[in-house]
Symmetry: C2
């Protein structure tokens, strides 16, 4: 049924100078091949089982790079190479926290990425409880000084992860705001939607001139417990011991594979994910899925009887989690002539749920490509969205350099249940959903590589995502 | 609508000599009061927040007993007292495990209750992998000697938790069977249905004359990881460090509260749960819910304008998790004349899901009570089941002494997602579902206390559950 529908739609597509009927037919064929293939699942399974978690700068990060180079070579890409990225390092160490009063209880907790540790004796202090970072900012220093700030901001499920954006400031900026008021440490309710007892890690920031205090997240059930004690009206005292510490800078690598274009090899379509992950889970949905989707899409195009007109560049970005280091390094290293030849860039970094929408950021002459993409993707449940795409974290800095981007938006209803937790494991990926992702990506990448109409100049303005 | 239906049904109930129309109306009223009450939820919230986990024999077990005595007194029961129970103790200590080869990865793991520890250096050994304990029993010692046995038996969700029974032998007897063949330790896939990264603890046994080897469970995603490596065909080596150790015997207590019967105070209806829990979760669904349901049901009967004919005895059993110690102690202490006066006994120990079925174990003259129970409970979704009830873990030894029992069967579809894991937390209890439980229990207990027809002699034979 789906195949029939697809054929009908393709037959009725208006002629577009930018793309031939043959291009559209080939994109549809690639899409259908992807739906039948387990390539992406096999790749992420291999990465999870043979490497596992791969914190930026860790030994496992090195293993992951070696895995990626070997795997991309064995898939037969025309070129496989790396580009160096300098990053800061950080060691998680150990963490132990409990409520000491009014009722002694153990807490499930995770240090935030980049946090400093406590001294050996840890920190014992009363809780200063806030519903949000805005409430903290508005607080009197007397209510905070010498205490452990607790930010209890809730995050509710949404298909597009909307509340991640409205909640994550507590994680990224909580330590700075708490320290400005004299707090000894900051703890937050996990920035996630899991009702299960996992703490969500993620990167946090310090600010020059503001004291660096330890920062950590507790699981949702543990946040509920703290809240229940606070609501009883007695002072709540916590104990926190944390041995995390920042380390020296090191070098990691963006790992890159290409299918060389047959007509305009210097014009490049970038499809990507990020290779690093947080260290407590397996890095399956964040972002093993993304690198697997990009590589599997590239491999399908490589296996065509002939090369696409333009080059397909598969990038496994380095060190996304700790601050988009791979993305910024790429943008810097390719600034100017190289980026000017980037036809399009996009990253898959929102898990492994089905894609339901395609957003773009194309100039007016990109409309035939938009329409072709809509026609080829609609049969697999992907409808055309806005023209304000951001493209994904590691390519988010490229529109400012004029590079067109697309966002193939995934259903993230459950993404923030697993994201950045120990529960980011392989069994959270549904093979058929992952295959649908590859289907969308391969069709998109192929059509972008065949499209002869300019996608530039791209519209400015806010990202719609 | 529900109330209307209930009234219609009660009106059409055939006259039963054993119970008056007034009894039935009162039971229906208690049921409807329970549906509107948050009493049970408030109780389990208090237990979870103010005590938390309460491993049998631990300091928190003592706190839980004090909490229970205070709480039951404050609820106004006619009597509150304790009965001593002697139990062995056990300290969990710390655990650390990883896969060493072919790919080094950390494992999420939990010591099984009662397990001995490793020495300081831990155990390094190759995995001997089995799909079930039956496969292990059939194995050649050569394939096991000096290795770490891994039992990968899966457990699939079911409303009645069917596969717990077919899977738990790997946990309880795995160490004995593995040690008989010379294994150094036994690890199992968690006996649970959670796809999340929690290891399920639970009690295990040793056997006189068989070496005592360490035993632990890994989470389902970690079991998948071990399985994926085993399937790659290379030897899989694990490292296990565990500091668990058995301790000296100690005394804990069954905590008991009564509503004294007005006509036959020495005839007793027992409703119960167990006060102890495993130590890694909050003991909310196992079995904070059960003690809260029993106490809330007793409290509603206590608040009636007049006492029921027979005594309602609410028991918070001690030390269920480590081997039904409270239940066995009660059966022994009350053997003979006291148990002969037990009209009926039942325990709530299957979480906090809605009750959907009532099983009984009554003699032929119990039929009017069965029918009365069916009529009063049907409007809240509880249908009559078989007459082969077991009654629940801590009363399971009472039918052998002639005591009638009932099983108010709860929907356990998700029970084994949380049971015995760190994820057994308050937010897994839905207040409306808990209230429906109290509604069924209070109606059942009241009718049993009013019923004048003998429920004995009870049928023998296998438990139907």
């Amino acid at each position: 049924m789906r195949k029939l529908l697809a054929s009908l739609l393709i037959a009725s597509l208006p002629a577009a100078a930018a793309l031939s009927e043959q291009d559209i037919q080939t994109a549809a064929k690639l899409r259908d091949q992807a739906l039948q293939s387990s390539q992406a699942y096999d790749l992420v399974e291999s990465l999870v089982v043979e490497v596992g978690p791969r914190l930026a700068g860790s030994d496992n990060n090195k293993k992951a790079e070696a895995w990626a180079i070997n795997k991309l070579k064995s898939l037969g890409f025309d070129k496989v190479y790396t580009e160096a990225v300098t990053i800061p390092t950080w060691t998680r160490g150990t963490i132990h926290a409990e409520i000491e009063a009014p009722y002694r209880q153990h807490l499930v907790i995770s240090a935030l990425g980049g946090s400093v540790g406590t001294d050996e004796n840890g920190i014992n202090a009363e809780v200063a409880f806030f519903d949000s970072i805005d409430d903290l900012k508005a607080a009197d220093a007397k209510a905070v000084k010498g205490k452990i700030v607790f930010i209890n901001k809730r995050m509710v499920r949404a298909q597009d992860g909307f509340q991640y954006g409205t909640t994550v400031a507590g994680r990224s900026k909580g330590a700075v705001e708490a320290a400005k008021l004299g707090a000894k440490a900051v703890l937050i309710r996990s920035v996630g939607t899991s009702p299960h007892r996992f703490a969500h890690t993620g990167v946090m920031r310090y600010q020059e001139g503001v004291a660096r205090i330890p920062a950590a997240a507790v699981s949702v059930p543990d946040a509920d417990l703290i809240e229940a004690m606070v609501k009883r009206g007695q002072p709540v005292r916590l104990h926190l011991e944390l041995s995390a510490e920042p380390g020296p800078d090191t070098t990691v690598h963006n790992v890159i594979a290409e299918v060389t274009g047959s007509e305009k090899p210097d014009e490049v379509v970038v499809i990507s994910g990020h290779l690093d992950s947080w260290d407590e889970g397996q890095g399956a949905i964040d972002d093993g899925a993304g690198v697997a989707i990009a590589a599997a899409a590239g491999k399908l195009i490589k296996d065509l009887p002939q090369r696409p007109k333009r080059t397909i560049r598969v990038i496994f970005y380095a060190a996304e989690e700790i601050g988009l280091y791979g993305g910024y390094a790429y943008a810097e290293q390719h600034q100017g002539k190289s980026l000017a030849k980037h036809v399009l860039a996009a990253e898959s970094d929102f898990g492994a749920g089905r894609i339901y929408r395609l957003d773009t950021r194309f100039g007016p002459e990109g409309e035939p490509l938009r329409q072709a993409l809509a026609k080829v993707l609609m049969p697999i449940g992907v409808d055309l969205g806005n023209n304000q795409a951001g493209g994904g974290p590691d390519v988010s800095m490229l529109p400012a350099q004029g590079v067109p981007v697309v966002s193939l938006r995934q259903d993230g209803t459950y993404y923030f249940d697993y994201h950045h937790t120990p529960d980011d494991t392989l069994n959270k990926i549904k093979p058929d959903e992952l295959a649908q992702n590859v289907a969308a990506w391969v069709a998109m990448a192929y059509l972008a590589a065949q499209n002869d109409a300019p996608l530039r100049p791209i519209p400015e303005g806010n990202f719609g995502e």
